[in-house]
Symmetry: C2
Subunit: 384 residues, 2 copies
């Protein structure tokens, strides 16, 4: 897309039709673009708000090719995608961002870590696992991660003692030292086709310990100016190391001794950046559209502090979702309610989120926790 | 919709599929609702982002009935609608907000004015026109307005002298004194089913003199605290007088002598409230959805000052739109670009808008005016 391109004709393709694709599509439609979504699920969240839906899986080469051929630019809301056909199309000049080569690298968490390590970016101590012996190399407890396919706390587990080797992940994996974490931080980084980088504020992630899913995000993080600046510097170096174009969610550990380590990088809009919709001048979802269509990156300025809370499917329920407490929750001032339009809930499934603004981040947290207590996503079927 | 209603199933109907319907639909989809749009135009802006499109006109009783029957709640993005079938359906218990009775009253600008006048709300001096003689009653110049069907500067004209009676509007009309205007102000007012009212900040409207279309909006208006409070008071009284539910755009004249007069009221999201998407805790487009679905009204707090500029089709062009200057305009920080996805431009047609944020309203205005100079909506056909 050069300066003469008529953006009123622009056709964008998004691989993946979940909540990230949905909000990306809404922002692309805000700018008047035509959006086609590829996703296997009929009436998936993004399909409900887009111009066209190609029903197909993320490893269906024909459907991937159809999407790329029918659009001017293709991007991603997820990283678990067949990259072979995309690499072919990319090599033939089709616009696909981040490039399928970057996607392929990031798909493998071990290779991702190795690259960052080689580029001098601080990461937790890690080691490839080729045998049961390798699992013991750092002693116990230790973290074991599948190289491929992990998502939302899956493909990651703690081995507490040697006896846990029996329950070790069987797929290709690596181990990582158990870091003594003070806070988990995250930064959304945007990078343009020309290599311009813009970082969003450093945020603080809070986790649901039961399932290791990010539960809430505080923007900005309650950290010192020094830690903030170091975090931003590390994140910029990381995305430059990857040579990625688009939006990247960089997860960091701040250790109890004050060290910053990159945990992992998502090559797409990230849960820790949902807050940008209400809190920042340009949301991460609009920013990725700007980046991949060769428009100037937008301002990442924080307009108001906020706290985001994921609405996860309640334990003990599945089936058609029922939103309990919506009336009481929406009484809370400066609260924005997002519900993704998934037709089926199950325990801990991401069904929606809320973002609560307040000039005072502690008041925002208080309001958000109140809403979290009130809002429950139950289902049509209850079980014990 | 009572407290036990399952909002994850909610089906909303919107009469009208232009830019207002589009953004309303996007906000309803954000909350996970199912949206059906009624509009005669294939691929109209709102249809592109909604679940279902009923192709039909606003005076097509069968299609209006279909929309109401298929959805839980019906609302409007425009006021020029057949109200007879809607009144029947409303009387049979269907949820339609604002009620078709309110819509009917507002459709007639003369009746609207008379009601406000009778309720003690300050309005410009006005007089029904039954004869050519009536046109002369206030002397010249004088404003003549069609009672029905006016929109975007149409159906309103100035009669400069007695000789202009030849070009007077032939339809049913009334005259209004020519007010000595200092500023044109506007307030977006939300009212819930229970009668709760929330006002947005008072804003200042700037007009394109050539065609009398609102061109830019400054939020907040540069007025004294006293004028602000009086404006809010008048707007609340006006919407209570109408007994309306939903979102109302109240246009006010601030005269050179410091008087405030209600010009007219739109019973739907209003151009002067576009800024609320980026500037306020809850946009007018989400607020109407909350109001008509019986959810609590959201906070109308101004999070950041802003200036909104309409992107009108350039004079001398029509056909498929071409967005000139998009690269340079999007370099301007804190600028949000909206393009509606209309397939055809013509002179002064509303094709999109931008909203520019800045803590300093004068800086916001400067940035917005720069963007306005850069962005031109041209068309595939040029004519002299």
């Amino acid at each position: 897309m050069n300066k003469d391109f008529n953006y009123s004709n622009l056709k964008l393709g998004i691989i993946g039709g979940g909540q990230l694709g949905k909000i990306m599509s809404q922002k692309a439609k805000k700018m008047g673009f035509h959006v086609t979504v590829l996703d296997p699920t009929f009436n998936c969240p993004a399909a409900q708000v887009s111009d066209k839906h190609i029903i197909g899986g993320f490893y269906d080469k024909d459907k991937l090719e159809q999407l790329v051929q029918e659009t001017h630019v293709t991007t991603f809301e997820l990283e678990h995608v067949d990259t072979s056909i995309l690499k072919e199309l990319y090599d033939h000049g089709h616009k696909i961002y981040p490039s399928p080569y970057v996607m392929e690298l990031i798909q493998n968490k071990y290779e991702q870590k190795k690259l960052l390590d080689e580029k001098g970016i601080p990461v937790p101590k890690y080691k490839n696992v080729n045998s049961k012996e390798d699992l013991k190399a750092f002693g116990f407890p230790v973290i074991q991660k599948a190289k491929m396919g992990g998502y939302d706390g899956q493909g990651v587990q703690m081995l507490k003692s040697e006896s846990d080797i029996n329950i070790a992940i069987k797929a290709e994996s690596f181990i990582e030292e158990l870091v003594d974490i003070n806070k988990e931080l995250a930064v959304i980084v945007a990078r343009s086709i020309e290599g311009e980088i813009r970082c969003y504020p450093v945020v603080e992630m809070l986790f649901d310990e039961r399932v290791n899913i990010c539960d809430s995000v505080m923007a900005p993080a309650r950290i010192s100016k020094d830690i903030e600046e170091k975090s931003i510097e590390i994140c910029i170096k990381s995305i430059e190391a990857l040579d990625g174009v688009g939006i990247f969610g960089v997860e960091l550990f701040l250790t109890k001794s004050g060290e910053l380590l990159v945990n992992e990088i998502a090559p797409r809009p990230h849960n820790s950046g949902h807050y940008t919709v209400e809190s920042c001048a340009t949301s991460q979802f609009e920013q990725i559209i700007r980046a991949v269509t060769n428009l100037p990156l937008g301002s990442t300025k924080l307009i108001s502090p906020s706290v985001m809370v994921n609405l996860l499917g309640e334990e003990g329920y599945e089936g058609e979702p029922f939103i309990e407490g919506i009336h009481d929750a929406l009484e809370i001032p400066e609260l924005s309610f997002h519900f993704y339009g998934k037709s089926f809930t199950k325990p801990f499934r991401k069904m929606g989120h809320i973002t609560v603004l307040d000039d005072d981040i502690d008041v925002a947290l208080e309001k958000a926790m109140k809403a979290k207590d009130i809002l429950k996503i139950k289902g049509s079927k209850k079980y014990e």
